[in-house]
């Protein structure tokens, strides 16, 4: 779709329109300078466009309840070299209606051209407006764009708006939004831009979360080079209980360019929760080196990272808000309760309607092959990822609607340690304690207590940079526990550790469990799960294959018994001969030991002994046992390792979601 709007704009006056703008059910509006070239309505949408002295005045009204299936195209631009184009637009999206606009703004010949947009938008109760605007400027930087949009999102309404100016030079861009959000409304503003020469990119966002449960995200990704300048001023006001807002700003600067990020958070109701993260600077060194280690030079690597950040689209993070039930107020609530939890990535259904609950004080293992949906589930439970649908409660607090309270219920131990290497263990722990507003005394006593519990009391004032991986992992656990959370999530706690490291982490887990902490453990280590967990859920292809105690899981394979035999000598091909015996279902060799899976050992044993006698083999040892957890796991997930076989059957790990759910 690159530059099609330019073609439209330049050809609009004289030639027929491209087919896609004439397709049935597609609304379109093309404005060049102060001329309305095309204005095509769709059922339910009324479109008025009127020429004013220096531009166009627009009025779009979508009737209540109308859901427009196909995105409507807006092409607004000018072929002039200089002058001014002013667009005054009003959007009214009726209650419960839904529409998406794909807007393109193109100024191919601009030398000294000003484009001014003044917008007023009403998103009525339960309505959804999605607006993606892409700018196509030339390489001169001769455009001065100034937009001022005022938006009102009423109860349960949803406004997702993105603007991208990453092609050509930005020129001077000044984008302004002021959004008022009522109860349970959602607003997401995304700005992406890239400036060269003396370009200037200014983003001003003012989001006021006025109603209960209103949510807002202001996200910007901007890269400036040469002597360009950028400034992002994001103001968030939390004016009601349960309002949640976040500012996420990344600005990359090279050459003599400059950048400012000014997140302003006003919490006017103490039950509102606002957060921000801003990163300004050159490209991350580790990201650069990771790419450069593939023989990519620094300049290209920087460009790859910047392009990734700026992306070629405007993906929104929250998608559409799911309708969810209010939290239950049952007396004895489980520590973790998950109902019909689902998450899609585009067309990929990573987690598919899973339900389970974990009791207080339980050690719960979450097992599955790589890519089964473990990480996605944990990210949803820890409020890092929005579920597509379904609910999850932590001690009764909903991770979506009550995330502030939900977040106080848990600590997280990520697989990759998140400790600051340039600080000491104590400084790391204090930092973590400050995040949860622990008093100085509490921080001091808790730090000593935890380091003692984990057997590292003597390392409190040692620089983390000198720690081994196992010690860093233990410190990460301590950091997650500073605020005494009742639930602890551990992701692959022993991965990459040597045996003593693994043992000391497992000891720590047992101690925590004994103290009443609920532990949620994702792991690949079946033996570890077997030893530690009260119950285990096996997740496969986004769904739960089984949940039970380790013994209960072994019981699932009631009809599988295993005969272990060591033959001396153990001839090559013994496995094949044994596999051919009546009643033998599986064979496996581990070192000198052969394992035969069977439903009825008593019928196989005589044949086995006969085989040994016939071939002059000594039976060094022989015993029968029930199935191991690994055998249960392989049985449930179908992920049996094939012995040295090159051609493995292609596996499909994830399901595609049903059509129509995602655009």
């Amino acid at each position: 779709m690159t530059h099609y709007e330019t073609i439209v704009l330049s050809q609009a006056a004289s030639r027929p329109l491209p087919d896609f703008l004439q397709a049935p059910g597609v609304g379109s509006l093309v404005v060049e300078g102060s001329n309305v070239v095309v204005a095509r309505e769709v059922p339910g949408l009324s479109l008025e466009a009127e020429t004013i002295s220096d531009g166009v005045k627009l009025m779009l009204i979508l009737a209540p309840g109308v859901r427009v299936a196909k995105p409507m195209h807006l092409c607004i631009g000018s072929l002039a070299e200089e002058g001014i184009q002013r667009i005054v637009a009003e959007f009214h999206i009726g209650a419960g209606a839904r529409i998406e606009f794909i807007a393109c703004c193109s100024f191919p010949n601009a030398v000294r051209l000003e484009h001014v947009m003044e917008g007023l938008t009403f998103v009525r109760p339960g309505a959804t407006l999605v607006y993606r605007e892409t700018h196509y400027h030339n390489g001169i930087g001769g455009v001065r764009v100034k937009t001022r949009s005022q938006v009102v999102v009423e109860e349960g309404g949803c406004f997702l708006s993105g603007i991208s100016m990453t092609e050509g030079r930005a020129g001077s861009m000044d984008v302004g939004y002021q959004v008022d959000v009522a109860a349970n409304g959602l607003v997401e503003l995304v700005a992406k831009g890239r400036g060269y020469g003396d370009d200037e990119i200014i983003v001003r966002e003012d989001i006021r979360l006025n109603g209960h449960g209103a949510r807002g995200l202001a996200k910007s990704r901007i890269a400036v080079h040469d002597t360009a300048r950028c400034e992002v001023r994001s103001t968030l006001s939390g004016n009601a209980p349960g309002a949640r807002g976040h500012v996420d700003c990344v600005e990359i600067v090279s050459d003599d360019a400059t950048a400012d990020a000014v997140p302003l958070l006003h919490v006017n109701d103490d039950r509102a929760q606002l957060t921000h993260e801003a990163a300004i600077g050159s490209v991350d060194r580790k990201e650069l080196e990771t790419i450069m280690s593939r023989a990519v030079d620094e300049r290209t690597a920087t460009d790859i990272i910047v392009r990734g950040l700026l992306g070629d689209g405007l993906p929104f993070e929250h998608g559409l808000p799911a309708v969810q039930a209010a939290p239950d107020n049952v007396h004895s609530v489980p520590a973790i309760e998950v109902r019909q939890l689902t998450r899609d990535y585009g067309q990929l259904r990573a987690v598919d309607g899973i339900s389970f609950s974990v009791e207080t004080g339980e050690v719960f293992g979450f097992l599955g092959p790589n890519g089964a949906g473990k990480t996605t589930t944990v990210r949803m439970l820890t409020t890092l990822l929005m579920p597509t649908s379904g609910t999850a409660l932590l001690n009764g607090f909903d991770v979506v609607h009550d995330s502030y309270q939900a977040r106080r219920q848990f600590g997280v131990v990520p697989e990759d340690s998140n400790v600051y290497r340039e600080l000491t263990a104590r400084q790391n722990l204090y930092f973590s304690g400050r995040l949860y507003r622990l008093s100085r005394e509490e921080r001091e006593s808790r730090a000593v207590e935890l380091m003692t519990l984990l057997g590292m009391a003597d390392k409190l004032d040692v620089l983390v940079d000198t720690f081994s991986r196992g010690m860093r992992r233990k410190l990460t656990i301590a950091m997650a526990l500073m605020h005494r959370p009742p639930i602890l999530f551990l992701d692959e706690p022993t991965a990459g550790l040597d045996v003593p490291g693994q043992r000391s982490i497992m000891d720590a887990i047992r101690k925590l469990s004994a103290q009443g902490t609920t532990l949620f453990l994702t792991t690949h280590q079946l033996e570890e799960a077997n030893q530690l967990c009260d119950r285990i859920a096996i997740i496969d292809r986004g769904g739960i294959a089984a949940i039970d105690t380790p013994d209960g899981l072994r019981g699932l394979l009631d009809d599988l018994r295993v005969i272990e035999v060591v033959l001396r000598p153990c001839p090559l091909g013994a496995e094949e001969s044994l596999a051919a015996m009546r009643g033998v279902r599986t064979t496996k060799r581990t070192g000198s030991s052969l394992q035969l899976g069977t439903a009825d050992p008593s019928s196989v044993l005589p044949a086995l002994v006969a085989f040994a006698e016939m071939n002059n083999l000594d039976i060094v040892s022989l015993n029968t046992r029930g199935p191991s957890l690994e055998e249960v796991f392989l049985h449930l997930t179908g992920e049996a390792p094939e012995a040295g076989d090159e051609a493995r059957p292609a596996r499909r790990r994830r399901r595609r979601c049903s059509e129509g759910r995602i655009r």
Binding site: T290, M292, L348, R469, A495, G496, P500
Partner: protein
Amino acid sequence: MPDAGAVALRVSELYVERGGATIVHGISLSLRSGKLHAVIGPNGSGKSTLAQALMGCSGYRIAAGRVWLGSEDITDLDLYERAKRGLTLAWQEPARIEGLTVGRYVGLGCDRPSEADVCRALDAVDLEPKLYRGRCVDESLSGGERRRVELAAVYAMHPKVAVLDEVDSGIDGPSISAIARLIRQLAKEGTAVLLMSHQEEVIKAADEAFLLSDGRILVEGRPRRLIRRYGDYYRATPQGQS
């Protein structure tokens, strides 16, 4: 393809400093084309430092000793110059990069990456190309998935020398077999592979192993022999001690 068995990388009396402390103390070793070399040792013995110093990562200073790639002394070359000459690293904790697709990432090291190359590499690490190619190497991948993508990218590059820093941690049994197979395949196609690992299944596939302790090579030899003879020693050694 270089001659199988020829020395592809030679390290002589290497000392590496990180943050003022000397971590690697006079390591010498040779990697041969088409061969698998494993470095084993407890956490904190200097495996990752050695890996990153060989790649030339910032923050790892070579205080003494030389590194040759083929007949060229690369001690004073930076990371990119080393990579350009055919040396690469599969990072233990590879960076997460927003908006960069798995498909693009895997093809980074290829001259002209084709769809087929990328799919073959993803298949080899047991990630279905159709499902993973379009995803991004960002936080949405789990640790195991990210490391497998990393290994696929190294494989697609066909490097002369590949240093694999614990690419197998956090990866489950069936995929480990796929990874062990891929590492063997990498060597079979002529790459000299240096492998840092804790997984004995992977280590056993190596032609030669070095036991590292406190930044020094304690002993070298056949991997099975090292595991048999010294396994108890390195498994039982508390981290960070010599």
